[in-house]
């Protein structure tokens, strides 16, 4: 990938974008394709999915059969480079020692960031999700509604390629005609769950994921995304033609060398680079926003990880897209006598209302799935089906003891064997070994289902991040200290998730291995574990009660934007990445328009 490998940026850019993942990729794409000169800073190294992705490697080719280790927490073949729950020499801290009040922060140090390994689940927020306070009095409303973001959801889905179906369910929006790719057929266990879930009123429908099930119709999409811009169309068509459709093998978490899945380095960055308007500086760790005498941002300082020096780059507009918490860190570390609480923090809300997703689940074994005729279930390298939140009516009727909803993710069954596939079977086999064990392994392979609930957390005053007063990272940059607290809203929901999972398993004639926890606080995953960190620079209609406005523009500094998950006001059960991209595209359109008008 042609990067700025001379390490000598131009004297001035229109826009500096800090971060190269979903937010940075989308922001830079929109700006560069429409003619703005962009410099992207990425803290990690360059990364080339076409040569570095372990596509067909079996676990037997990996150390420890590919098992999870502290160096590779999601397994050896997870695409993450230079990161995980810990980054060497770049710690973060937690204010509390209480195990239930910890926040875990997943970071990657690579071009494309976390988009390289993510699950590709691409769900739209629905109309309710933008006005949660109006509906139940909790949290805050967004300053925008679904109708403001709907066209951008369409655009992002066309650009990155998302499979799924339009089911017309409550608060689960349809995409516009011609936008979605066809969903793959459900696997055996997914169909079986759908069949038996229906008895419980639990709907199982095709999920939406950013994987191409057919090649993109490049010319049509390019014309729709960049009308009246034949140059941008040409670059996009060329980039889309480099992408193959899924060949129904290999897990998406490894990354995708054939570019069938969305990840920033194969989808957002190639056409933006081809435009000639984007320079990318890797190994450049964003540190501070540089402020001018006029109260505007004039650039960014970064640590050059090659030599450890702090360096400066300059632009008309600065965009932080470094991940919600990392962008907070930059704003707070930009403090100076004039900006004693950090930049863009007159509200005092920078770092407040950090949210993750509520996660809890339960697994079981389904006798009907034992000894099935051999068949290949690799599919699209991730889920084909899911359960959208379905209890709106019951919630309105006051029958649930928690607000907001969750969806359920699951995958069946005959995936590539790994260390845990045939582990811990004694509860089923009675301890067999020898020929009987071989039979048992065949029998039980593919008969397990795990239902993972993913639900909405309400922002609260006890969940935030700030600068640790003492600890600095290897570059001398003060690190973040997290405060975390789940409320009953979340823990009750987690308990409900486990009970639903048990009901589903039992409806399928299966049995759970572990019973649901009596207290949801024991069922819920620790903060950050779902890696849906959002908030910290929430948007709003009132500059005293929010950090950014509806354009992801900070109230205090008009040429400073945050386009990652930071401006999220709530964290609907829908996975945030698609919404991050839609918001980033909308913000970038606003920047382009304001530059044209001479306002920025």
């Amino acid at each position: 990938m042609p990067l700025l490998d001379t390490r000598t940026p131009k004297e001035k850019y229109d826009v500096i974008v800090v971060g190269s993942g979903a937010a940075g990729g989308q922001t830079a794409y929109t700006l560069a394709m429409e003619g703005a000169k962009v410099l992207m800073l990425e803290a990690g190294r360059n990364y080339d999915p076409s040569t570095e992705t372990p596509m067909f490697q079996t676990h037997a080719q990996a150390p420890l059969r590919g098992s999870s280790t502290p160096d590779k927490p999601f397994g050896f073949y997870d695409a993450t480079v230079g990161g995980g729950w810990q980054v060497l020499g770049e710690p973060y801290t937690n204010a509390s020692t209480d195990p239930k009040r910890q926040f875990s922060w997943w970071r990657a140090r690579m071009l494309g960031g976390r988009t390289n390994h993510w699950g590709r689940i691409s769900l739209r927020n629905g109309p309710y999700d933008f006005k949660p306070y109006s509906r139940d009095g909790l949290g805050f409303d967004w300053p925008i509604g679904y109708e403001d973001l709907e066209p951008y959801y369409d655009k992002v889905e066309m650009l990155i390629g998302v499979y799924g179906s339009n089911e017309g369910l409550e608060n689960t929006p349809n995409s516009s005609p011609g936008v979605l790719q066809p969903p793959p057929r459900m696997r055996a266990g997914e169909r079986y769950a759908k069949h038996h879930g229906a008895k419980l009123g639990v709907p199982v429908i095709p999920i939406h994921r950013a994987v191409l099930t057919r090649r993109l119709d490049a010319a049509r999409i390019a014309a729709r995304l960049h009308p009246k811009n034949p140059t941008a169309q040409r670059h996009l068509i060329d980039a889309m033609n480099m992408r193959a459709a899924c060949f129904w093998a290999t897990a998406c978490g490894r990354g995708c060398s054939i570019r069938a899945t969305y990840q920033s380095p194969t989808v957002h960055l190639p056409p933006a680079l081809a435009s000639g308007n984007l320079d990318i500086l890797t190994d450049a760790m964003g540190y501070r926003v540089l402020m001018g005498e006029d109260g505007k941002a004039k650039g960014v300082s970064y640590i050059d990880r090659k030599d450890g020096q702090e360096k400066e780059v300059f632009a008309r507009i600065v965009v932080l897209a470094a991940s919600a918490a990392e962008s907070v860190r930059m704003l707070l570390n930009s403090k100076s006598p004039r900006y004693a609480n950090g930049v863009a923090n007159s509200s005092g809300l920078v770092g407040k209302y950090i949210m993750d997703t509520v996660g809890a689940g339960l697994g079981g074994q389904i006798p009907a799935l034992e000894n099935l005729p051999l068949h290949n279930e690799d599919g699209a390298g991730g889920e084909h089906a899911y359960v959208p939140w379905w209890l709106y009516k019951e919630q309105r009727a006051g029958k649930l003891d928690f607000p907001r909803g969750y969806h359920i993710e699951f995958i069946s069954g005959r995936q590539m064997p790994e260390m845990r596939t045939v582990a811990g079977l004694e509860w089923l086999t009675g301890g067999s070994y020898g020929r009987k064990f071989r039979e048992d392994a065949r029998r039980y392979y593919g008969s397990f289902l795990h239902f993972a609930g993913r639900g909405e957390m309400i922002p609260n005053d006890g969940s935030f991040c700030e600068i640790d007063p003492v600890v600095k990272d290897r570059w001398g940059i003060p690190v973040l200290r997290f405060h975390w607290q789940w409320s009953q809203h979340e823990t009750r929901q987690a308990k409900h998730m486990q009970e639903t999972a048990r009901a589903l398993i039992e409806a399928m004639g299966g049995r759970v291995r572990d019973q649901p926890k009596a207290d949801g606080a024991d069922a819920i995953e620790a903060g950050g574990k779902i890696i849906h960190e959002v908030g910290g620079t929430i948007m709003g209609a009132d500059s005293k009660k929010s950090v950014t406005n509806q354009w992801c523009q900070t109230w205090d500094v008009k040429n400073l934007f945050v386009t990652d998950g930071g401006p999220f006001v709530s964290n609907a059960d829908k996975n945030p990445t698609l919404t991050i991209m839609a918001l980033a595209w909308r913000a970038a359109d606003y920047m382009l328009e304001e530059m044209r008008r001479g306002n920025l």
Binding site: T53, T58, L374, E418, T421, A423, F437
Partner: protein
């Protein structure tokens, strides 16, 4: 996530193993059961940016542990747990014992926890073979090996004196199965038919749907 995670509490397992080793030493002669058969692991891990597309073999990244005798015992036990059964090779034929050596020699917490469980378990099984049959475990005949393994193959059903070796056996069986079923031969045996590029994904075949009552 398509299967249930292992529920073995490794720290408990280690405690039990150490207790058991001491007890066995008292009953069978301390000379055979030196308490620490290997030094702790001091190697480095592969870091957070390893090359993902090369082939790794046991011993490539950190030094292995097994002595020749331990390796032979481990291979024998691998073949007891997954014996050859035409056309499928045994776990020992596929070198799964070397993978187990790689595992217990690794500089990571889970593997460090497994290390004493496996090493002391192998020591126990050798001592048990000597005690019962006066020969080493690899030199036993099938029925003799099974006589020992039958006593330790279930954590739940094992008699109290075998509770610690049963923890070892459960762990060793999980490692053997994991090592075996991740190989091309093991994947074929278990019925995994994927990891091949396909032009289309057609979903489950009619015979699968019929079995599930979905047609």
């Amino acid at each position: 996530m398509n299967s249930i995670p292992v529920r073995i509490d490794r720290r408990t397992a280690i405690k039990w193993m150490l207790t058991a080793a001491a007890a066995t030493a008292a009953s069978t002669g301390a000379a055979r059961l030196r308490a620490s058969p290997a030094a702790p692991v001091a190697a480095e891990g592969y870091g957070t940016d390893p090359n993902l597309v090369r082939d790794y073999k046991p011993g490539d990244l950190w030094p292995l542990t097994f002595s020749e005798a331990q390796r032979l015992t481990a291979a024998t036990l691998c073949a007891v747990i997954l014996p050859a059964q035409a056309p499928h090779p045994s776990a020992a034929d596929l070198g799964v014992h070397d993978f187990i050596d790689e595992w217990i020699s690794a500089p990571y917490p889970n593997q460090r926890d497994d290390r004493p469980v496996i090493l002391q378990g192998l020591e126990w099984i050798e001592a048990e073979a000597q005690k019962r049959f006066g020969r080493s475990f690899p030199n036993l005949v099938r029925a003799e090996r099974h006589a020992i393994c039958d006593d330790i193959c279930s954590v739940e059903k094992a008699a109290p004196e075998f509770s610690a070796p049963a923890i070892f056996f459960a762990r060793f069986r999980d490692l053997t199965a994991g090592g075996y079923y991740t190989t091309p031969e093991g994947m074929k045996d278990i019925g995994y038919t994927g990891n091949l590029p396909q032009a289309t994904f057609d979903g489950p075949a009619p015979d699968v749907l019929k079995r599930l009552g979905l047609v």
